[in-house]
Symmetry: C2
Subunit: 185 residues, 2 copies
Amino acid sequence: MTARDRILNTASGLFYTQGVRAVGVDKVIDEAKVAKATLYAHFRSKNELIEAYLRHQASQAREDLQRIERDTPPGTDRISAVFDHAAMAADRPGYRGCCFINAAAEGLDSESRASEIVAEHRELVLDYFVRNVDAPTLKERTEVARVVMALFDGAKVASVSEGSAAFETVRRATLALAGSPTAVR
Amino acid sequence: MTARDRILNTASGLFYTQGVRAVGVDKVIDEAKVAKATLYAHFRSKNELIEAYLRHQASQAREDLQRIERDTPPGTDRISAVFDHAAMAADRPGYRGCCFINAAAEGLDSESRASEIVAEHRELVLDYFVRNVDAPTLKERTEVARVVMALFDGAKVASVSEGSAAFETVRRATLALAGSPTAVR
DNA sequence: AACTGTACAGACAGGTCTGTCTAATCGCAG
DNA sequence: CTGCGATTAGACAGACCTGTCTGTACAGTT
């Protein structure tokens, strides 16, 4: 495992569990067993490391979605699978909610591209919902997808205090909506 | 206006727009035109100031909900009013999402009572929804309220990137759900 | 006039942060 | 073996952080 990977993996863990602002580069190099100069050889600044962390998480989440689309037949099952996936994450120790919501919540410099990375990923997830939601027209699918996205984000927020149980109730309503959207329009 | 109020008001503004971690006490005393000793005379530590900030926001939100319940007839109108209120907040300059979600997202010391204050407030909002949602039994109202809460939180999260428009689509679905919950169960 | 409470300005200590730098060491290709 | 790129440990500068402290000013009360 290259030094760069070790740095990025360690930073990802620390940034997620403690927040990007609470973790200094010293803590990262300490845990990654790496010299400070090495970190700065691979990442020009801490900001760049944070951006790499977010891109890393985004690409991982993207792969998860692709895997679900490969393994699960179209329809509401694919929505359900996403909820299952999130609920399982919420049960892992050290869970602290959605890394993108959290990163957006921590005030980052306006010069940082972090918020763009988050916004980009959110669009990707929205597109996933648009593809896998049941409604006649694209316009309607987009509207339903936005609601599904809100339900998903809301469940993630609630799960921080309430654990994975937060996904159960919300999932039922989401599936009903995504399966026969006319019921609530 | 007493020095304490000036400190708390200034701190609230700074903590909200930049994040509690990004704002130092020096920035607060500078903008509040207050001596550092005065701040530490009223608040034992920065942590205590943060807690006061969250309690302040919580009591303000509580009053908003009470005002709505006083001025709005029971039923889904009271749900709609909450969404209106949040949408208006999202249009104000400097909007940065829900202060409670953001505070929970910033990693705070485990010794801080901040997360308890947030959790308490979330329960209060949930109770509001339970009271004002339409379903026959308490158990069902609670379930529906949890979904409404998720929709509300999700809309707030989305509004950070997408502005107040995020509340429009979500509101429609929420009102349908809160008005005739059997449609999605 | 003396006392009390509150606020002021600002220095200070002790720590942490990011980012740079030096100098030594390692592994490996030629 | 030689040379080179990558890595190491750690000192360092300069900024910022929280919290404490000294000393002063001023209003209201006794």
